[in-house]
């Protein structure tokens, strides 16, 4: 009995010693202060090696000081380094070799591929990233139209001290601009791996304009749409007519076929992409006044219902019908026409529906004829018509998509006129003036 008690005590002590040893720390112990946090990764084609990898690190001391544009001693809130390397992970090894802290990717917000690299194919890099434990699935995938390195070097946010927050907020802005998309790594990966859709990435670039005098519509996409002047969505990243402190910008989407970039969408096409995929939240949409020439009406458009798609095969070609239901509030009527009035509102609704339908049709036809990429994932609706995976695979949807034809039905309802319910003229010495 005494022996049993002693044995129990000894066992308890041994177990406690074992457990305390385990809880005191382990091989994987890493102090927060000993890590260098990457917030952006840029990948370009290398000159001396396969890849040129640029890493942007957060400088926590500068961010913590809360000084605009850096710390109290003029510290920058981020630093950038570039290496040439055969692979992403070997590049990290090289960087670890010359910076004092260990590189940590768990706070990386974006990964930027140069257009040149994307056009050669990035599937192998996406796979390597998905395999890595530190990469977050919600980091954004960007394609820099020029160079990823240049883009990262030009990310100098003036309204944000923390560059990581800048990326987060800037890349989520599609929810209220409609000009980029939710191109998180997980979405990109799932779209790319799906047999029913193709992937997209946010287009990024460094703005080229130095002064307002340099502005030109030469790089706008308005000409392709037979417009004499560009609307706000008729641009791609790098060509937005603007000057200011921040030179980096995002606008539009890069379209992929598998892992290879095959084309670009401008801001307006991106808005239609969002509407077709049900990711559109709300944004301002400018359209020509239906009655008065050269005047605009601006609507705040929202999409409260998911789009309805119907895909069927007709004579061996896919026939796609899409119904988009939108709500809108009036923001501006430059002509002063009383479109708010219940008897006139249908004129504006019809004009907006026609405008969006036309633009959407042009965009969808581009995806078949020029891009040959089902970015709107109509294949998902087709897939449900098959019973087994073998039948679906043999159908080869992605190959057939190029023959698809579309019927678009936009149903837009104007709900509210803003704070003005009747447009009235201003009065001058010349009489009534509306504009």
């Amino acid at each position: 009995m005494v022996r049993k008690k002693v044995l129990r005590k000894v066992s308890t002590i041994v177990i406690l010693c074992m457990l305390s040893g385990l809880s005191a720390g382990c091989y994987d112990r890493r102090e927060i202060d000993d890590l260098a946090y990457v917030i952006a990764i840029g990948l370009d084609k290398g000159k001396s090696n396969v890849l040129k990898m640029t890493l942007q690190f957060a400088v926590p001391t500068a961010i913590g000081n809360g000084q605009e544009g850096g710390g109290s001693n003029g510290e920058k809130s981020s630093i950038v380094t570039t290496v040439e390397t055969p692979t992403i992970y070997s590049g990290l090894n090289m960087v670890n070799n010359y910076i004092s802290k260990q590189v940590d990717l768990s706070h990386a917000k974006v990964i930027i591929f140069s257009k040149e690299l994307a056009q050669e194919g990035i599937h192998q890099y996406i796979h390597a990233i998905m395999r890595g434990r530190e990469f977050r699935p919600n980091m954004f995938i960007l394609v820099a139209r020029d160079s990823a390195e240049e883009y990262i070097k030009n990310v100098k946010p003036s309204l944000e001290i923390n560059p990581a927050k800048y990326y987060e907020m800037n890349l989520e802005a599609f929810k209220y601009t409609g000009f980029t998309g939710n191109t998180q790594l997980i979405n990109f990966y799932l779209q790319q791996e799906c047999t029913c859709s193709q992937a997209v990435a946010t287009l990024a670039a460094v703005n080229r304009y130095k002064t307002t005098g340099d502005f030109t519509v030469k790089h706008s996409t308005a000409g392709n749409k037979s417009r004499s002047y560009p609307l706000e969505g008729d641009f791609k990243a790098g060509h937005i007519p603007r000057v200011g402190e921040v030179h980096s910008e995002i606008m539009g989407l890069a379209v992929f076929d598998g892992g290879t970039m095959v084309g670009e969408l401008d801001g307006e096409e991106t808005t239609y992409y969002l509407m077709q995929t049900g990711q559109y939240h709300y944004s301002y949409i400018t359209l020509p006044d239906p009655i008065v020439k050269d005047k605009f009406v601006v609507l705040n458009v929202t999409q409260n219902r998911k789009p309805a798609h119907r895909v069927r095969m007709e004579d061996g070609s896919p026939k796609i019908h899409a119904n988009i239901r939108l709500d809108a509030d009036i923001l501006s009527i430059q002509s002063g026409k009383n479109y708010e009035y219940a008897g006139n509102v249908h004129i504006l609704e019809k004009a907006a529906e026609d405008f969006i339908e036309k633009g959407m049709l042009q965009f969808l036809e581009r995806t078949t004829t020029e891009l040959n990429a089902d970015v709107c994932a109509f294949g998902k609706d087709m897939k449900g018509q098959f019973l087994t995976w073998k039948e679906w695979q043999e159908f080869k949807w992605l190959e057939r998509y190029k023959d698809a034809t579309f019927e678009i039905d936009v149903d837009l309802k104007i709900r509210r006129p803003g704070l003005i319910i009747r447009s009235k003229p201003a009065y001058s010495t010349k009489g009534e003036e509306m504009y």
Binding site: K165, L190, T388
Partner: protein, 369 residues
């Protein structure tokens, strides 16, 4: 002395629930996607129904052997030889799966969080839990299950709801995946997913009545079947086939996607904690039944002296597979295709023989009387 210990239905149900459903945090969802494609969840429903049918047959046969575990019945059939034969089969069965799962959990933990630590060190965490659990005995283990399983269930329900923003019904299309033949003919052996039901046939003396046995069996099978089906459905609604078979650790991959604003993300850290508890509960209960089976098979008085030698044995054997993939194959390809023979066929055969013997004995007694 030990057989006087009893526990309630709830404790037994939670024990079996955890033993059967642990694979949710391992590779189950990926494996059913590999077997049936987009119809992985239909395959899970099918094998759950098969498991319920199998248990229905066993439960009917068991009615005449209330309070007896499989080893007792083995002894009834063939004396010591019968007990040793059946005990040895169960012992090998348990050693195999506990060894493989110990390695799997350790490897997974190394991939997910303890990347630098040697695998032998990571395994020690689980081994310590297994040893302590076995020393504390079955009563402590089942009571711990009764407390922990509701908490773990809530955690997994939370992950499942939080991930719902990624659900897309088109991802489970085409509805019959790799085909009806693959699901209903090829999928038959996958009923081995419910292999741990065997534990129920070892705890019969502790849950006393046949009514309790029935309730525990049906309830735990139903809940486990439901959990397995929901987990495979949720996984396939998020990860489209064939991407679904590409990723490792489905539940971990799902928890990594949870992201509500800038302040609510990185939930997988909670998942890893929960996952560790599930692993500890599974391994400690599994290890207890190894030493318990050995003790009962060879009619030993105490099981405690077996704990350390068996722990060392299992720890060492867990390092035999050269890598993680070989370990996963040992479980999914071999064990999960053949274990149904031990869990369902063996008890049915034993019970049928025992029933025949009992009937004959009755007839002999009747004719003599």
């Amino acid at each position: 002395m030990e057989n006087k210990m009893v526990f309630g239905k709830w404790e037994a149900i939670t024990l079996l629930m955890n033993m059967i459903s642990t694979k949710i945090v391992l590779n189950f969802q990926r494996k059913v996607a590999e077997d049936a494609g987009t119809a992985g969840w239909i395959l899970t429903i099918y094998i759950s129904v098969l498991a319920l049918l199998g248990f229905m047959v066993i439960e009917k046969l068991y009615a005449e052997f209330e309070g007896k575990d499989l080893l007792d019945i083995g002894e009834y059939i063939g004396g010591t030889v019968g007990r040793v034969m059946i005990g040895s089969v169960i012992f090998i069965f348990l050693v195999y799966i506990v060894t493989v799962v110990l390695r799997e959990f350790s490897e997974n933990l190394k991939i997910v969080t303890l990347t630098v630590s040697p695998i032998s060190f990571v395994s020690l965490f689980f081994l310590a839990g297994m040893i302590v659990g076995a020393y504390l005995g079955l009563e402590a283990l089942v009571r711990l299950h009764a407390i922990a399983i509701p908490v773990l269930t809530v955690t997994f329900l939370f992950i499942s709801f939080a991930i719902s923003q990624y659900f897309n019904i088109s991802r489970i299309m085409p509805i019959f995946g790799t085909g009806l033949r693959n699901i209903f003919v090829g999928g038959f052996t996958k009923v081995s997913i419910f292999a741990e039901l065997l534990i129920l046939f070892l705890i019969v003396p502790y849950i006393r009545t046949h009514k309790n046995f029935k309730t525990v069996g049906y309830t735990s099978l139903f809940i486990a079947g439901f959990s397995l089906t929901m987990s495979s459905l949720i996984f396939l609604l998020v990860f489209p086939y064939p991407a679904a078979i590409e990723g490792f650790l489905p539940m971990y991959q799902l928890s990594r996607l949870i992201n509500y604003g800038r302040f609510f993300q990185r939930v997988e850290s909670v998942f890893v904690f929960t996952w560790g508890i599930v692993a500890l509960l599974y391994l400690s209960a599994g290890f207890y039944f190894i030493v318990f089976t050995f003790k009962k098979t060879f009619n030993l008085t105490y099981y405690q002296p077996l704990i350390i030698p068996f722990a060392i044995l299992i720890y060492t054997m867990s390092f035999l597979p050269p890598n993680l993939d070989s370990t996963v194959i040992l479980e999914t390809k071999y064990f999960r295709n053949t274990a149904w023979l031990v869990t369902f066929v063996m008890p049915i055969v034993i019970l049928l023989i025992a029933k025949t013997i009992k009937k004959r004995k009755k007839e002999v007694k009747h004719s003599n009387g």
